[in-house]
Amino acid sequence: MAMNGRRGYSSSLVDLRVGEVSREIFVNEGIYAEEQERIFARAWLHVGHESQIPKPGDYFVSSMGEESVILCRDRTNRIHVFLNSCRHRGMKVCRYDEGSTTVFTCPYHGWSYGTDGRLVGVPYFREAYHSRLDKAKWGLVEVAQLANYKGSIWATWDPAAPPFTEYLGGFTRYLDLQLDGWDGREGQAEVLGGVQKWLVPCNWKFPAENFSGDTYHNISHRSVDLAGIGPSGAGRRDMGERDASRKLHVCIPDRGHQTIHYILPAGTAPPPAYLNAPVVAEYFRHCEEERRRLRGEEARLVGAPGEIFPNTALLSRQPRTMAVWHPRGPHQTECWRWFFVDREAPTEVRQFLRDYYIRYSGPAGMTEQDDMENWNYAHAASRGTIARRYPYNYDQGSGTAVSNYEYQGLSVPGEVIDLTEAQSSEQPMRNFYRRWAEFMEADDWSQLATWRSAERKAAE
């Protein structure tokens, strides 16, 4: 593995001057091991949603990188995220996917923890430990920081990481499209049904870059479009609002977040959608009307696939879903997909959306199956000694991004490429891998929070 630079990630393995990324970063076991320390132990990661743990004692077992974690609500209603590993010998203290409990008991030797993480039960505490074990010191390991952003729960192991909203930067606008109500009210989303979980034999960065905004692979989904799985019986989704909009790639350069994004022309209402079910169509028509009333010009924003660095994917409309790409070794990814609906949505709307969502996404979803096939075989064909010698090409649209983009009075901060005519660019992938290399190079958050030094200079 040839490397240059201080650690060899920037400008060697990730060479954005020529738009090349080495296959090593997808298949090399040493690089994968470094990612766990330098990315997954430092970045903010999506853990779950508060609607999954509505009552005290409720828990949902999630994952942060390779680590199993417990998202739970304690007796006082406070939300926690703990490492799912007994402090005595490391056994998982919770082996269910979700449920409700008063304690997490290790089945190995019986150490037991409250839902606030405190060690509350130690077998033979008086007899064998002579009451000398300091229980306060041996509670469950808790994340360094936790954020509840409009009901979505995020956490980081790094106490020096910036607060979550600072980590997002200008990307809050796009996460809001996911979590706010269809009618424009804040934080109305709740999880619909269970979380879909499945394994794909590929590196976690394949789905991460795909959801960063790969508009180039639409040909892969040609068969789904022909089958017509969409909610109006044609294509894979309703295209009316997209066809009427400007189509953009939006990248937040110093954060590593990026998305596809659409903006409707000023004064334009979205065309009718969900035409296979009159009740659902009327519900969304009403919601869109309310959204325009509440949000004004901002209601012209139409969400599309995006990625919050490193491994959380957004898709705020058709289907409305979030995914996390959990690394499970360099050659395997465990995909978790949450589906969302507004908490006050009528039953008929929920049922219609549920059917559409699982027809589209997840291991049985026709569109996601196309994606998985690509990631699977691209990864397998990149592992060989010869294949590793040849980098991937990420040069599409290099040098064409603009800042201060504006469309009919609506400004879009960040690096933007207008795809309405260009159709596609690889700016989002370049943005993703630039940030990836920064994480792999940086010693700590004083180097990673690059925007802070820029802000300091601007203030001077």
Partner: protein, 81 residues
């Protein structure tokens, strides 16, 4: 050796005898098969424990208490996917 009791089946209000001769009444059963939250009714070894609530380890339970005739079935178990 006494026959082990499946403590997951014990309802709050049931009393249990402990290995040191104490008797305790179950307050909460977390259903994990390892622990019970119980209040001491008697404790020959340490009378100061009487009235106190503690977590009782399954292996310290040697039988049902004097006030208990039949164990009652309790609680829901966590759901799996």
């Amino acid at each position: 050796m006494s026959v082990p009791i499946n403590i997951r089946d014990l309802a709050p209000g049931t009393s249990v005898m402990l290995v040191d001769g104490a008797e305790a009444e179950i307050v909460t059963n977390p259903g994990d098969g390892v622990w019970l939250f119980a209040r001491y009714l008697s404790s020959p070894r340490d009378p100061t424990l009487i009235g106190q609530e503690e977590m009782i380890f399954a292996q310290d339970i040697v039988g049902l208490g004097r006030a208990t005739a039949e164990p009652a079935i309790v609680g829901t178990r966590p759901k799996t996917q």
